[in-house]
C-alpha cells in the first residue's frame, strides 16, 4: 500500500492497483519516460485516397533537434512490414498510397514533441488524388478502383462445420463469412409470415481517455516496448515477424492502461515506434494526440438485412441475413468481426434454419477494429429490433414473443455448439420486474425490451498462469490478462485466494512483461476470468498440492490427513502454522511454492467457429421513454440492464462492467457517431465528438447482476465485460415504437430521425 492507510473511514482495504489510481501514483504508458528518450510525431494524410508521388523531408531534417525522419522507404528492408488480424494489409507506414484521412505518411523523431511537430509540418508531400470510396456501396460499384493492387498477407481465419470463410473474394471485399444450418428456403416457405427489414449501425470511436502511447528502446538486436496495448503477446509476435527477430528478442511491458474497450487491441503503431527508435538509435516515445487516436480505429458501421419467418403459433422459423460491414481502409480485426456478426445473428432464440452471409467491404474510412462486443452489438441491434417489429405486427406482446422463442438452458445455440448456459426467461423477467412491468406504463410513456446475445471466451482459446507463494502465504499471481479497468486483476487474485484459502488482499497481481509473464492470446472477448481464471485456479491447486507434500514430508502423515486452513496445516487435533515449518526446513531467505496452471479449449471441427463456445453472454435490457411529438426529442426515464456473471466473484465490479458498457451503447443509440462530411471526418476531435456525460443519464438507471451458476469458469463464473453493450439500442428503439408507433431502423435516434419516423408512422396510420 506504499504507506497509505486505506481505511480511515471504516470499510474495506483496497488493493494497491486500485488505491494507487485514487492517489495518482499509477503509472500508465502515458507516463513512461526513459533516460535519453526522444519524441515522435506523425504526419498524416489529408486525402482519403491518393498516390504518394514524392516526399521532401529535407527541411524537416535540417531543423535543430530533429534526429530522424522516416517514410515508407524505411520499411523496404523489413521482412514483412504489414499487420492485421488474419489478413494483414496495413503497412507499418504508407509506402506509395494513402487510403484514409489520417493514414500515416511520415514520422519524425526529435528532442521534444514541439520540435517533432514543427518538423512534421515542414515535410512536403506530393499527392495524386484518387477517388474516395466512403461507403461500401461506392467501393462495390463496378467503376470503383481497387484499394489494393496485391493480395493481403496472412490468411482469412479458419472456421468449422456449417461455416465458410474466404479472404478477398472480390474487388474491395476484404473477407466473407457464411454460417447456417437447416433449410432456410423451405422453412420460410412454410412460415405464416415472412418479414424483411434493413437496419443501419453507425461508426463510433472508443474514446478511451488515454490516447495511444508507445515507448521503444533497442539494445543491440533486442527491442523493449512500453505499450498501452491490451495484447502484449500478440504485439510481441507482430514485432518479431515484422522485424525478423526471434521472439525472445522482443519484450513488451504493459503499464496501466487508461481505457481500451478494444481500441488498444491488436497491433496499432507499435512497429512504427520500434522502427523510429531503431533509426534514431535512442529510446523514442510516440504519444498520439486524442484527435489522432480517434483516427486510429472505430467500431464497424454496418447494414444488416434480415428476412425472418414466423409460424401461426408465433414461433420463429428461419432467418436469412445479409450483412455488410464497413471495414475502412485496413483489415485490423475485420475478419473476426465478419465471423462474429454472421454467427451471432440468430440471437437467443430457437430456429429451424439460419443462413447468414457477412462481408467486410474496404472503404477509405478509419479502419474498423475491435470494439467491446463487436459483431454482437451489430447483430443484436438488428435482430432485437426486428423481433419487436414482428411481434407488434403479429399482435403478440414483444415480451411474450421473446419468452416463447428463447433457447432453453442446455439447448445448443447451433448444431455442434455448446448449450445455453443462462436462463434467458428468468433474466428477462428480472429486468421486467425492475422496470416495473407489473404495472401499466404511465400515460404517454413507452416500454421496450431487448435481449442481446454473444459468445464469449474466445475460439480455442488458451492461457497460462504462475502463482508464487512465500513461506508467509504472500502470493504473487502472474498472468497476461491486462487490467484495462475491467477489474481482471482483482478477479483473478480473488480466484487464486479462494482456491488457496487465503484472504484476497494476500495476492498481488504481477506487472506484465513478456519476458516473465506466462502468455495468453490477449485481453479480448470477456475471456479473462474464464480462460485465464481456470489456469489461475489450476496454479493455485498446484501450490496447495506442493504444500501438502511438504507437510507430509515434515510430519510423516498421510496426505489425506492434511487439512490446509488459512496458513496452517491441521492434522487430526494438531494445528501446525506453516511459516515456522517452512522456515525451519529451508532456512536462508525462506521458500516459494511456485504453482503452474494452463488451460486450452480444444479445437472442434464440428463446431461452427471451429471450437465450441465457452460462455453465452446475454444482455437483458428494458427502457422506458417519452417522445416529444413536436421536436422529436426522446427522454429516457428508466433503463435497466442485466447480465449473467454465472457467479459474481466481485459483484461491485460486475455492476461497473455492465453499467459502463450500457452507457457506451446508450451514447451510440442517442447521439454518438463518428461522421464524415464527404471524404473528411466531420467531428474527429473531442470538442465536436460527443459522448455521454452525467447530464445525459436517464433519471433511473440500474444494473442487475444475475448468477445463474452455469458458467464454465472457476465456481461456475462467466465473463461479463462486454454484455452491457448488446441490448440497449434495441430496447430504446423498441420503447420509442411502443410510445409512438415510430419505427426506427438506424442509429442514432436523433430528433430529426425520430420526427421523420413519427411522420412515417402517421402516414401509415392514415
Amino acid at each position: 500500500m506504499d504507506g497509505i492507510d486505506s481505511r480511515p473511514h471504516g470499510v474495506a482495504a483496497f488493493p494497491a492497483y486500485l488505491s494507487d489510481k485514487a492517489t495518482g501514483r499509477t503509472v500508465y504508458a502515458f507516463d513512461v519516460a526513459l533516460p535519453g528518450m526522444l519524441h515522435g510525431k506523425l504526419l498524416r494524410s489529408p486525402h482519403a485516397h491518393a498516390w504518394i508521388r514524392g516526399i521532401d523531408t529535407s527541411a524537416a531534417l535540417a531543423m535543430a533537434g530533429v534526429a530522424a525522419v522516416l517514410t515508407g522507404r524505411d520499411t523496404a528492408d523489413l521482412p514483412d512490414p504489414f499487420y492485421g488480424v488474419g489478413l494483414r494489409d496495413q503497412p507499418v507506414i504508407c509506402t506509395d498510397r494513402v487510403r484514409y484521412v489520417g493514414d500515416t505518411v511520415a514520422a519524425v523523431v526529435a528532442c521534444d514533441e514541439r520540435t517533432a511537430f514543427a518538423a512534421a509540418e515542414a515535410i512536403v508531400v506530393e499527392y495524386e488524388p484518387l477517388p474516395a470510396l466512403m461507403t461500401p456501396e461506392a467501393a462495390l460499384a463496378p467503376e470503383a478502383p481497387a484499394l489494393f493492387d496485391h493480395p493481403a498477407g496472412g490468411a482469412m481465419l479458419a472456421v468449422g462445420a456449417g461455416s465458410t470463410s474466404a479472404g478477398e473474394p472480390e474487388k474491395n471485399v476484404l473477407c466473407e463469412y457464411t454460417f447456417g444450418y437447416g433449410d432456410v428456403a423451405a422453412a420460410l416457405a412454410e412460415s405464416a409470415a415472412v418479414y424483411t427489414d434493413s437496419f443501419g449501425f453507425t461508426r463510433i470511436n472508443h474514446f478511451h481517455l488515454e490516447p495511444h502511447v508507445n515507448v521503444a528502446r533497442w539494445t543491440g538486436d533486442r527491442v523493449e516496448m512500453w505499450s498501452c496495448n491490451q495484447d502484449p503477446f500478440v504485439i510481441r509476435g507482430d514485432i518479431a515477424r515484422i522485424f525478423g527477430l526471434p521472439l525472445h528478442n522482443v519484450c513488451l511491458h504493459t503499464p496501466a492502461v487508461g481505457g481500451g474497450f478494444g481500441g488498444k487491441s491488436y497491433c496499432k503503431m507499435e512497429p512504427l515506434v520500434a522502427l523510429m527508435a531503431r533509426r534514431a538509435d535512442a529510446p523514442v516515445r510516440l504519444g498520439l494526440t486524442f484527435d489522432e487516436s480517434v483516427l486510429t480505429s472505430t467500431k464497424h458501421a454496418a447494414i444488416l438485412t434480415l428476412t425472418t419467418g414466423v409460424d401461426a403459433a408465433g414461433r420463429l422459423t428461419a432467418r436469412r441475413a445479409e450483412i455488410v460491414l464497413d471495414g475502412g481502409a485496413y483489415a485490423d480485426a475485420s475478419c473476426t468481426t465478419a465471423i462474429k456478426t454472421g454467427f451471432r445473428i440468430g440471437g437467443p432464440y430457437r430456429w429451424r434454419a439460419i443462413g447468414s452471409r457477412a462481408r467486410v467491404v474496404r472503404t477509405t474510412c478509419v479502419p474498423g477494429g475491435s470494439f467491446r462486443g463487436f459483431g454482437g452489438t451489430q447483430a443484436s441491434w438488428a435482430s432485437e429490433r426486428q423481433i419487436d417489429m414482428i411481434a407488434r405486427s403479429r399482435g403478440i406482446d414483444p415480451y411474450d414473443f421473446r419468452m416463447r422463442n428463447f433457447l432453453a438452458p442446455g439447448e445448443p445455440f447451433a448444431p455442434g455448439d455448446s448449450g445455453m448456459d443462462s436462463d434467458l426467461g428468468a433474466g428477462l423477467a428480472e429486468v421486467a420486474e425492475q422496470i416495473g412491468a407489473a404495472l401499466p406504463c404511465p400515460p404517454g410513456r413507452g416500454r421496450g425490451f431487448a435481449v442481446g446475445l454473444k459468445d464469449a471466451g474466445g475460439t480455442g482459446n488458451h492461457a497460462q498462469a504462475i502463482l508464487k507463494v512465500t513461506q508467509g502465504g504472500e502470493a504473487i499471481l502472474s498472468a497476461a490478462v491486462v487490467d484495462i479497468g475491467q477489474g481482471a486483476a482483482g478477479a483473478l487474485c480473488r480466484i487464486a485466494a479462494e482456491t488457496l484459502g487465503i484472504a484476497p488482499d494476500q495476492v498481488v497481481y504481477a506487472r506484465i512483461d513478456t519476458d516473465h509473464t506466462p502468455p495468453d492470446n490477449g485481453t479480448h472477448v470477456s475471456c479473462g476470468t474464464v480462460v485465464t481464471g481456470l489456469a489461475v485456479e489450476q496454479a493455485a491447486r498446484d501450490v496447495r498440492r506442493q504444500i501438502v507434500e511438504f507437510v507430509v514430508t515434515q510430519l510423516g502423515c498421510a496426505p489425506e490427513a492434511v487439512v490446509l486452513d488459512g496458513w496452517t496445516a491441521r492434522v487430526g487435533n494438531h494445528v501446525h502454522p506453516l511459516e515456522p515449518m517452512i522456515r525451519a526446513w529451508y532456512g536462508g531467505i525462506g521458500w516459494e511454492f511456485i504453482g503452474r496452471g494452463a488451460f486450452k479449449e480444444p479445437y472442434d471441427a464440428a463446431a461452427p467457429l471451429r471450437s465450441k463456445n465457452m460462455c453465452w453472454m446475454p444482455c437483458w435490457s428494458a427502457a422506458e421513454v417519452t417522445v416529444d411529438r413536436e421536436t422529436g426529442k426522446v427522454t429516457l426515464h428508466r433503463l435497466v440492464v442485466g447480465a449473467d456473471a454465472g457467479r459474481a466473484v466481485d459483484a461491485r465490479a460486475c455492476h461497473g462492467q455492465i453499467e459502463g458498457a450500457a452507457i457506451q451503447a446508450l451514447s451510440q443509440a442517442m447521439f454518438e457517431e463518428l461522421r464524415y462530411d464527404g471524404a473528411v471526418p466531420e467531428n474527429a476531435t473531442p470538442r465536436l465528438y460527443r459522448v455521454m456525460q452525467t447530464p445525459d443519464l436517464p433519471e433511473d438507471f440500474r444494473s442487475v447482476v444475475a448468477e445463474h451458476r452455469m458458467g464454465r469458469g472457476p465456481g461456475q463464473l462467466k465473463g461479463i465485460g462486454e454484455a452491457g453493450m448488446l441490448g440497449i439500442a434495441a430496447a430504446v428503439a423498441n420503447a420509442i415504437q411502443d410510445a409512438t408507433g415510430a419505427c426506427l431502423t438506424s442509429l442514432p435516434f436523433t430528433p430529426e430521425k425520430v420526427l421523420a419516423a413519427l411522420d412515417a408512422a402517421d402516414s401509415r396510420a392514415e
Binding site: F30, H655, A662
Partner: protein, 159 residues
C-alpha cells in the same frame, strides 16, 4: 521567451523559469514529476487533467503555466500526502467509481471543489457539476454514488 514564476503546489513553494507557451499540465508533469495530472483530450473537454488553482478546478492542459504566478495549486498528489486517503478518494474506492482510473484524479479534485461550495449537493447539482468530466468506463452511476458518499464523509469529519 520565458517567465519567472513563484507559486505553491501541494503546500510547497516553487520558483521556476518557464517557457511562455508551456501549459500548466506540462509544468506539473514534466518539471515537478506530478504525473497524477493526466492529459487526455488536451482540449479542455474531458477533465482528466483537472487541478485546483486557488480552490477552483481548472483544465491544466488548457491553462498556461504563467497563469500559476502566485497561485496555490493542489494536485491529486496533495490530497494523500499525509499517507492517508482523503474522504473523496476513499468514497471513490468504496463506491466502485474507479475502473481504468485515468479520469479519477481530475474527478476527485473537482468533487472537492464542489463539496467546498455546496456541502450537500442534490442529484441535479452533482450531474451539472460533473459535466466538465468524461468517464468512458463506469457509466457514471458509481461516480454519482461516490459524490454522495464523499459528502457524508466530509460531514462526519466536520462534525
Amino acid at each position: 521567451m520565458s517567465t519567472q514564476l513563484s507559486f505553491r503546489v501541494n503546500g510547497t513553494m516553487h520558483c521556476l523559469t518557464v517557457a511562455n507557451e508551456l501549459t500548466l499540465a506540462d509544468l506539473l508533469r514534466d518539471q515537478l514529476s506530478l504525473t497524477g495530472c493526466k492529459v487526455g483530450c488536451d482540449q479542455a473537454v474531458c477533465g482528466a487533467c483537472t487541478v485546483l488553482v486557488d480552490g477552483r478546478p481548472v483544465a491544466a492542459c488548457a491553462t498556461f503555466a504563467f497563469m500559476a504566478e502566485a497561485a496555490d495549486i493542489v494536485t491529486i498528489e496533495g490530497l494523500s500526502s499525509t499517507g492517508r486517503l482523503d474522504p473523496v478518494q476513499q468514497a471513490f474506492l468504496e463506491a466502485g467509481a474507479i475502473q481504468c482510473g485515468y479520469c479519477t484524479a481530475g474527478m476527485v479534485l473537482s468533487v472537492h471543489a464542489l463539496l467546498r461550495r455546496c456541502s450537500d449537493p442534490d442529484d441535479a447539482t452533482i450531474r451539472a457539476w460533473l459535466e466538465a468530466h468524461v468517464c468512458r468506463c463506469t457509466g457514471y452511476a458509481a461516480i454519482l454514488d461516490a459524490v454522495r458518499l464523499a459528502a457524508r464523509y466530509l460531514h462526519q469529519e466536520a462534525a
